[in-house]
């Protein structure tokens, strides 16, 4: 699964640590999600979508 988390974060001028703090997760988690090494659970994906006021499918999309 791909995502545009890094772009969304950059648009808001947030560091990975800033985003991690707002999601109450570790900076390592943000890094792993952004680089596609880890796909978040559905609850975390919803949390991310709510933070950016977007739909999940606007942030995460299939590789296919």
């Amino acid at each position: 699964m791909n995502n545009k988390l890094k772009v969304l974060r950059a648009e808001r001028n947030w560091s990975q640590s800033d985003l991690a703090a707002q999601l109450s997760i570790s900076r390592q988690s943000v890094n792993a999600i952004e680089t596609g090494r880890y796909d978040p659970s559905l609850p975390l994906a919803f949390q991310i979508a709510e933070l950016f006021a977007l739909r999940i499918e606007d942030i995460f999309f299939s590789n296919k």
């Binding site: 890094k6 560091s15 990975q16 109450s24 997760i25 570790s26 390592q28 988690s29 890094n31 792993a32 999600i33 952004e34 680089t35 090494r37 880890y38 978040p40 659970s41 975390l44």
Partner: protein, 138 residues
């Protein structure tokens, strides 16, 4: 390893207590059971304590797995523990057959715990290779 969450801090405290209990109860066992100063049921009870202390270390790892709220870090710990478990089970099974055919000497069962913790180290290295951070400065 990561050391950020409160779950990890509790893990370190629990592991330190279990390790201290292990050292103390092992000394007690050597002093009173090993020397023959205590026999019978009290000897069995004393001899159980070091093993129970090591069980406390396993419990500390299990609690960390349960209490870690960061799903990515929890996934890494689960993966690390599975690698440790697979490594330990494979090695002791292979050793058991070799021992059965009198090809290797007998090894005491408590070494399984040491192997498992060594396996956690292997799991940690494997995690680093698989999930190494990228773009750390971003």
């Amino acid at each position: 390893m990561f050391m950020n969450s409160s779950a990890e801090r509790r893990y370190v405290v629990r592991l330190a207590i279990a390790t201290a209990a292990y050292i103390f109860t092992l000394w007690l066992g050597e002093r009173f059971v090993g020397s023959g100063a205590v026999v019978g049921l009290p000897a069995y009870l004393l001899a159980l304590l070091p093993g129970l202390s090591v069980t406390g270390m396993f419990w500390a790892v299990a609690r960390l797995m349960i209490e870690e709220t960061d799903e990515y870090l929890r996934m890494l710990l689960v993966r690390q523990s599975l690698i440790a478990t697979g490594f330990t089970l494979s090695l002791v099974t292979i050793w058991g057959f070799l021992e059965n055919f009198n090809l290797v000497p007998h090894v005491d069962a408590f070494y399984v715990a040491i192997l498992w913790f060594f396996g956690l180290g292997i799991g940690s290295v494997a995690n680093k290779f698989m999930f190494q951070n990228k773009n750390k400065t971003s």
